[in-house]
């Protein structure tokens, strides 16, 4: 049984100008102890997906199942404590996700008080100290306020707060993109260590391919509310299939010739992600795709399953549908 299973999830927002199709029919599943990275540009719907799983938004249609329990239509306020305990989130910017008026002890204690009822204040404190030590934070920080901490420390405090209830699924919403490089490494190492020891599943939202390589087990590429490629992380870096994925990978800056060789065929990024209010017809990537064919503009590509040594590698692209079938589809 998957810890998280998302099927044909749609989330539309109705705004005065029309309907924003932020997430438009995506499927994925996440197994116990693994990490799924949802990768995409801003506006691709990855954060919306995470927020539906959290219950910050409710789904428009489709299903979100946490261990076979449908949670996609239950807003966070209506979720029982036992469920809230299981799914926790680390936000992008720790400067805003920690209450500026509370010190570290109060921030983490809030989480412990709710989910570990019956502990005395000393027991809570001991639990907190062991948690901080585990994450790699000094206990000297206990009485500091967020503005007195460095960026990496702040994010680790946010991580400690999310871990305090003892979650099984942790949503990491761009956990490192607000941090400087050295702080990023610290947070990534803590995340890796915790996953190894506690076998927590991560749903990782990011646009940083370095973070993907470090943490992810599987990668799903999102573009304008749809998943265009899904693969094991090794497959993703070694044999990217979708032109969009290739474009993303070739945008990684390189230093040496050797590194350059590791990158897939160079596809220069062109254009910008269109508005999800009025997505292009057919394949949503076609206006930016160097291989776009007639059919790409007309029909949405089917999801093709390509065999690989790491289980299924799926891609949604007409290039991988053979010419015969393409013609049939045209007619």
């Amino acid at each position: 049984m998957s810890i998280l299973k998302v099927e044909d999830l749609k989330k539309y927002f109705i705004v005065p100008q029309g309907v924003v199709r932020a997430v438009d029919g995506i499927d994925f599943s996440l197994e116990e102890g693994e990490t799924l990275a949802l990768v995409g540009e801003s506006g691709s719907g990855k954060t919306t997906t995470a927020h539906v799983v959290m219950g910050f938004y409710t789904a428009t249609s489709g299903s979100v199942k946490y261990r076979d329990i449908e949670i996609g239509y239950t807003p966070i306020e209506k979720r029982p404590l036992e469920l809230r305990k299981e799914i926790q989130i680390v936000f992008q910017d720790p400067a805003t996700s920690l209450n500026p008026k509370k010190n570290v002890k109060d921030i983490i204690d809030t989480a412990i008080k709710i989910h570990r009822k019956g502990l005395s204040s000393v027991e809570r404190l001991k639990f907190m100290l062991s948690l901080l030590e585990h994450i790699g934070l000094s206990e000297d920080l206990l009485f500091k306020k967020p503005h007195e901490l460095g960026g990496g420390e702040k994010q680790l405090v946010a991580l400690a707060r999310a871990l305090a209830p003892g979650p099984r699924l942790l949503i990491l919403d761009e956990p490192t993109s607000a941090l400087d490089i050295s702080a990023q490494a610290r947070v990534l190492n803590a995340l890796k260590k915790i996953q190894e020891e506690r076998k927590i599943s991560y749903l990782l939202i990011t646009h940083d391919l370095g973070v993907v390589r470090n943490l992810a087990t599987y990668v799903a590429i999102m573009y304008l509310g749809k998943i265009y490629e899904y693969a094991h992380v090794d497959e993703f870096f070694n044999r990217p299939l979708h032109p969009y994925t290739q474009m993303l990978l070739s945008s990684i800056p390189t230093l040496t010739e050797e590194e350059e060789k590791l990158l897939p065929q160079r596809i220069l990024s062109r254009g910008e992600i269109p508005s999800p209010m009025n997505p292009p017809s057919g394949c949503r990537f076609h206006p930016r795709c160097p291989f776009a064919m007639d059919i790409c503009k007309k029909k949405e590509p089917p999801t093709m399953i390509i065999k690989s040594e790491h289980g299924s590698h799926t891609v949604k692209c007409w290039l991988y549908v053979n010419a015969h079938e393409r013609n049939l589809n045209k007619a």
Binding site: F56, R84, H115, S121, L125, F143
Partner: protein, 300 residues
């Protein structure tokens, strides 16, 4: 409890206390840096002490109420009577000191009701934005705000019996919507901060989100507004009394005194000058203090 646990909790309690002391010290430093706010604080403290111990500080305590001694009437300011005497021979300075009592009582009573009530209503309306409770509270506030403040206060005072208590009631009723509106706008923007979402994800109860997550982040504007408003309360209270709808003579209320004595202008100018400048001093002190409190919170 085990010995080491005891030690641990002792140490934490000690550190917590230390931190609190440290932050109070820092806040005091920020406050005391400004000469203006220190001046405000000193004046205000002097006024509060003299009002509290008016019986001992006022040179002629018996002159506060009904007292007639025509021999001493209409005396200009002198060393014996710092602010002169009025038409009944009462010492104006003594009456002013007793007058501060009514002014401060007014401020204390009004703010201690208006600030908590307005804040709680604003928090509820802002946090539950889009629900019926928001509409109920905010429309009620709109109704109170739509009537000009002095007109509302005057109509309440004239419907009820004109006395000090009803004047306070009137000012309280006209004042709360301003706090509700301010806290409402703060709450409805802060409720979308990620730390509020994180609290929801943890399962923090709504009431705790409002009072422990949101409220501490609003304390600055609320307290600054409260101190600056204190001077407005004094002024409105005096205005109500001046128009004869608040405290009635011979109550030594500053507004009542100005109203009573203004009939003797310009010849016996000292009679109204005393209470008027006393009123100005109090208002000034509150304003200076408000600036200082703003500095304390702005520095954080």
């Amino acid at each position: 409890m085990k010995a080491e646990d005891f030690q641990l909790s002792e140490e934490i309690i000690r550190k917590e206390r230390e931190m609190r002391r440290e932050s109070i010290k820092r806040a005091w430093y920020r406050f005391s840096r400004s000469k203006l706010s220190m001046t405000g604080l000193i004046i205000l403290l002097a006024i509060i002490i003299s009002a509290l111990f008016a019986e001992y500080i006022a040179p002629y305590p018996s002159h506060a109420g009904l007292y007639i001694n025509f021999r001493d009437a209409y005396q200009p300011p002198s060393l014996r009577h710092l602010m002169g005497t009025d038409m009944y021979g009462r010492d104006v300075f003594s009456r002013v000191i007793f007058g501060y009592r009514y002014a401060l009582m007014m401020v204390g009573m009004v703010l201690s009701i208006v600030v908590p009530v307005g804040t709680v209503l604003g928090l509820l309306a802002g946090y539950y934005r889009g629900r019926w409770i928001e509409h109920l509270i905010m429309r009620l506030a709109d109704i109170f705000v739509s009537v000009p403040p002095l007109v509302l206060a005057l109509s309440i005072c004239s419907i009820l019996e004109p006395n000090v208590f009803n004047a306070m009631l009137a000012v309280t009723l006209m004042w709360w919507p301003w706090y509700t509106r301010m806290v409402y706008s703060l709450a409805s923007s802060l409720r979308n901060e990620p730390y509020v979402w994180a609290a929801k994800a943890l399962g923090v109860r709504d009431i705790n989100i409002m009072f422990r997550e949101l409220l501490p982040n609003m304390l600055g504007p609320i307290l600054t507004k409260a101190t600056l408003d204190a001077s407005w309360v004094v002024l409105i209270g005096a205005a109500i009394s001046f128009l004869g709808l608040g405290a009635q003579p011979p109550t030594p209320d500053l507004g009542t005194m100005i109203s009573e004595y203004s009939a003797y202008l310009p010849q016996y100018w000292w009679m109204s000058l005393g209470p008027a400048s006393a009123l100005a001093l109090l208002i000034l002190a509150f304003n200076f203090l408000g600036d200082g409190i703003r500095d304390v919170f702005a520095g954080e």
